[in-house]
Symmetry: C2
Subunit: 323 residues, 2 copies
């Protein structure tokens, strides 16, 4: 069996979930691909934390060049989060001939063109399925089996934290502040929830979705973005009376040569496929001129769902380079 | 721009939808792939029918060898329907070095192992995304970006005709016979609806889903199958009282080494993601040990949605062979 060696940048929650996904499904992966995937080096300072996985100490390094310059490593997984040094590291990895997989929506959205062109110039693959919708397969279908479509519309609920908050407000009549506090206590919301509740995370994902489906890259900072911080129980009730639910939606709609796009709370009629997407679930609704309406639904975050998408990308690259 | 020549077997409804999908999205396909896809020969007796497309007369042939033996053709699309001669034609095409794409669930399910091994022996690709869920991307994600999962459960509403009939019975209290008659008048059901209403079509699709996700091929004739012909308005009402809807479901659930599977009408609680899938829509619900619950929703039939999946497969093959 052929071995594919992998370098991992970051062993936080998502890194640990990806490592676990590989270990728990090693047999299934080997059976289906005939490949032995090995994470051989990990860039991570915190070597002592108990992550519930057994990582041999010699895999850890604090020098990224131990990964980028290792001729045995063909794929680099970037799971550091944040824009820098993640972006520079991905570019260095590609310049050293490594294929790159990431879940980092902020970095991909901020430097989409640069990362894509660096991959092309260096003849390597760059994949980021986990960056939108977590475990939901959306970017891969959009760029493969759906590619014979001209897309006219995308709508997505792509942030679990805000969808959880809005669902709790809708189902129980709670106000924003108290739901957010509970969400933080349960670990569904960050201590600093700004990127989620202000819609910034959603704008990153919309930027990526538009680049891949409409072939139009708009930096997330140029996407009109409104979060959920001003939503009141009165707004929720007003929507309910109209037969609607308020959801934080990323939308892009093409009309001829113009695209209307943005991130904002919207009143969706209960009959809309996205209206029934509750709590931490995500869903992406797409309209193509041949396929019609499609919806992809699942867990948009979490270590294992995200790990599923990360390792799926890794496996696709591993299969293609071992042919 | 590189040209990929394609032979098409059958220019019925789905063949016409695939031809239309290619023609109407030619620019998008060229822009995204850098490839010029051309359907150069079509096996079809009925050359005179008005299909709303402009097909030059010289493309038609009644001799399959004009396609199989044409060295300029690299991909064959089989859209004849039915088991024979479709299966023999697909095998002949592969033995002549052609990659094959089909939407033919009956043929794929009946001879899954033989078709897969013929493809492997001849070093060609064999793709059949359109055979399950029409335009919904399901087989491709299951075998690519989700392949790092161990799947434990699949449930699908994968027949539009029966879902339309059950939806009409549920929403309006109509009885089975009158709804079926209306469906036939509207073209949502065949003149001979046996394969749909007896669950045979669903069993074909379940056979394919199980083979790809559980790596276990069960011939459709060995799948316990019950259709919807015995469902009465009283059954629908009894389900409603329990907070459920009756849906014709293909299911497969793994428990250790055993898999429980079949096709039957099931009472689904309204909270189940599949319960809200109405009319001619299809949806497939999947549980993977890393990704958790996923659902894929869209149009499970129709010339253009099916054409979307057929041309998506063709495009994937075309890209891989022109690298």
């Amino acid at each position: 069996m052929k071995t594919i060696n992998i370098g991992l940048l970051g062993l936080g929650n998502i890194g640990t979930g990806s490592y676990k996904t590989l270990e728990m499904n090693r047999k299934v992966i080997e059976k289906n691909s005939g490949l032995d995937l090995q994470i051989t080096r990990i860039l991570e300072r915190d070597v002592d934390r108990d992550r519930g996985i057994d990582v041999p100490m010699e895999k850890f390094t604090q020098n990224p060049d131990d990964i980028f310059k290792d001729p045995e490593i063909s794929i680099v997984i970037e799971l550091l989060g944040g824009i820098e040094p993640a972006t520079s590291f991905m570019i260095s990895a590609m310049e050293n001939g490594k294929h790159v997989v990431t879940a980092n929506k902020a970095a991909v959205a901020a430097s989409f063109d640069k990362l894509m062109s660096t991959a092309e110039e260096n003849g390597v693959q760059f994949k980021f399925e986990a960056s939108v919708g977590g475990g939901i397969p959306i970017l891969h279908p959009l760029t493969t089996v759906l590619r014979a479509n001209d897309f006219s519309e995308i709508m997505g609920i792509v942030n679990g934290t805000t969808n959880y908050v809005l669902t709790q407000m809708t189902d129980h009549g709670f106000d924003y502040d108290s739901v957010l506090k509970t969400a933080q206590e349960k670990g569904f919301a960050e201590a600093d929830p700004t990127a989620d509740v202000e819609g910034i995370d959603v704008a990153n994902k919309l930027s990526i979705l538009m680049a891949l489906s409409f072939d139009k890259y708009v930096p997330p900072t140029e996407i009109p973005t409104e979060g959920i911080t001003k939503i009141t129980p009165a707004d929720i009730e007003a929507a309910r009376v109209k037969g609607c639910k308020i959801k934080l939606v990323a939308y892009a709609k093409r009309d001829g040569d113009t695209i209307d796009y943005g991130v904002k709370p919207m009143e969706l009629p209960l009959s809309h496929p996205l209206a029934s997407v509750s709590d931490e679930f995500n869903a992406i609704f797409v309209v193509g001129n041949a396929v019609g309406e499609l919806m992809f639904y699942g867990k948009g975050a979490g270590p294992l769902p995200t790990g599923s998408a990360v390792m799926g990308d890794v496996l696709e690259i591993a299969k293609s380079i071992s042919k």
